[in-house]
């Protein structure tokens, strides 16, 4: 993740003072992660690019009000997360806010128990697997997908994730459990097929 210690107090001072060169450096260093969040949340490059541009336009405008004691990456991701959720709502015209933010219902259906950890590393990171990872994430509700991306992919703590999304730490934990369970389940079904099908196609 983008650790705040990567940004010196002097960097933050000049950033808040409106130094455009320093702002450019912030954009340079943080934009790949913000774009990745957009891709994960919105599912296509065009929307992710819109979200990316809007995020930094808003960030630049809001910088004079940035509290220097708070974390710049948490602050930036908060703007980005709101932007992504807003685009999602806009896209589903007529859909209520609740729909985008509500958790998935707890799913108590049977668990897939297959130990696929032993699969060779090159199979686990193959192009096909990457597609499955994206597919599994797309299956999550936006609320679960967002928490998973911030916490497990971008590496924010539970506390930071709660701050970014303006929800309680308990809500973060609950969503994280559901997201991880669902992703694990989805991938287990896929890897089980791969392990069983491996011999037939050999």
């Amino acid at each position: 993740m983008i650790a705040d210690q990567d940004f010196s107090p002097d960097f933050i001072d000049r950033l808040v003072a409106g130094d455009r060169r320093v702002f450019g450096e912030l954009v340079e260093r943080t934009s790949p992660k913000i774009f990745a969040l957009g891709l994960r949340m919105l599912g296509n490059e065009q929307d992710a690019e819109d979200m990316l541009q809007e995020t930094y336009l808003k960030a630049f405008k809001a910088l004079p009000n940035f509290e220097k004691r708070s974390s710049i990456s948490t602050w930036l991701f908060r703007i980005a997360a709101n932007e992504a959720l807003m685009l999602l709502r806009k896209r589903k015209s007529g859909a209520s806010l609740v729909e985008v933010e509500k958790d998935d219902e707890q799913d108590d259906s049977a668990l897939e128990i297959v130990d696929w950890c032993c699969l060779p590393e090159q199979e686990l990171v193959s192009t096909e697997t990457r597609e499955k990872l994206n597919e599994a994430a797309e299956n999550l509700s936006p609320a679960l997908r967002m928490v998973f991306q911030l916490r497990d992919v971008d590496g924010f703590s539970i506390t930071e994730t709660a701050e970014i999304l303006d929800i309680s730490e308990d809500a973060v934990k609950t969503r994280l459990v559901r997201a991880r369970m669902k992703l694990r389940e989805y991938l287990s079904v896929y890897f089980k097929e791969r392990m069983e099908g491996g011999n037939q196609h050999a």
């Binding site: 702002f23 450019g24 790949p32 541009q53 668990l111 128990i113 992919v153 934990k173």
Partner: protein
Amino acid sequence: MHNHNQCGDYLAYISDYLDGELPPEICASLEAHLRECVNCRVVVNTMRKTIELYQVTSGDETLPEGVHTRLFARLKLDD
């Protein structure tokens, strides 16, 4: 999950367990269960691996060139 009635209760703790966030007593009780229960062990391992896969496959992200150019133009940072 088979006849392991307690498994359901432990499953709810696995996510916190992976984050090292479980209170010591619950952690000890879960670990005792894991020593006996293959199924829950598989869930722990595959969940850990699931998270790891998302992390390793997202480490190499860079901004596509066009996206970068248009972003810096829009922010008037391209001069």
